[in-house]
């Protein structure tokens, strides 16, 4: 009986509990945290923008050099062709002077 009473009292012990006040500077703290996460986001964005710029620069340079190579390839092939033809026709200069 005593035990039952005690348990009932324990179960009812939170009745009439007063609400606890939160920190008076709660909003300022939240605003500060939001500002920090915003700054982090901006930093992360500018960092990724930097990487994107560097990557696109590398790709552009590669593209330019590739097109340059493609443009020069036919004339080079032509030269090889001429060399082969001149060899065949005995027009190759063999002397070193």
């Amino acid at each position: 009986m005593e035990k039952e009473n005690w348990i009932n009292e324990v179960m009812q012990s939170t009745k009439g509990m007063k609400p606890v006040e939160a920190n008076p500077f709660l909003f300022e703290k939240i605003a500060h945290k939001i500002e920090l996460s915003r700054r982090d986001e901006v930093q992360a964005k500018s960092f990724s923008k930097g990487w994107a710029l560097a990557a696109s620069l590398v790709i552009t340079v590669n593209l330019i050099s590739f097109t340059y190579m493609l443009k020069n390839k036919p004339s080079h092939q032509k030269e090889i062709g001429y060399q082969a033809l001149s060899k065949e026709m005995g027009l190759v200069q063999t002397s070193n002077y």
Partner: protein, 184 residues
Amino acid sequence: MQNKPNEYNLQQLVETYKRLVFNTAINFLQHREEAEDITQDVFIEVYQSLSKFKEQSTISTWIYRITVNKCLDHLRAKKRQKRFGFLTSLFHPESGEELTEISHFDHPGIEIEKKEKASFLFKAIEGLPENQKTAFILWHIEELPQKEIAEIMQSSVKAIESLLQRAKANLRKDLEKIYPERRN
């Protein structure tokens, strides 16, 4: 309610709901500083997802839901940390990891004469399974109607009723075990 959140309505939201969030957090976490941190995190999430709020429930129900989820996540993380601490202490006894149980919680909103009994109740609540704990705290301490608890927990009123019954039975069992520890 404006769709685009700005600092002005965040401030309004904080002012209106800070008591609700902080007190729910303190009842779940039984730790004032941790409850303050969680309160801040709750409002940051509210701020970030306010545009996604579809008004299918009231804003207080939505804020309650975020608070409960944050508290449960925090408790889970703490439990993991405790387990890890235990393992570390097994391999490195000199590391001095904390193995002691959380001391009896002294709720700042409880009358002095009820403090000791309330600390036994909080200790017993701590041992309840997550869903029973949530239902019991929201119903018994926050004094919310079962319909709202069902909305917060995205469940039915019947399910909440049964959770509460099981929670009360488990608490009584636990308190019976604690009974010899009491002072008077």
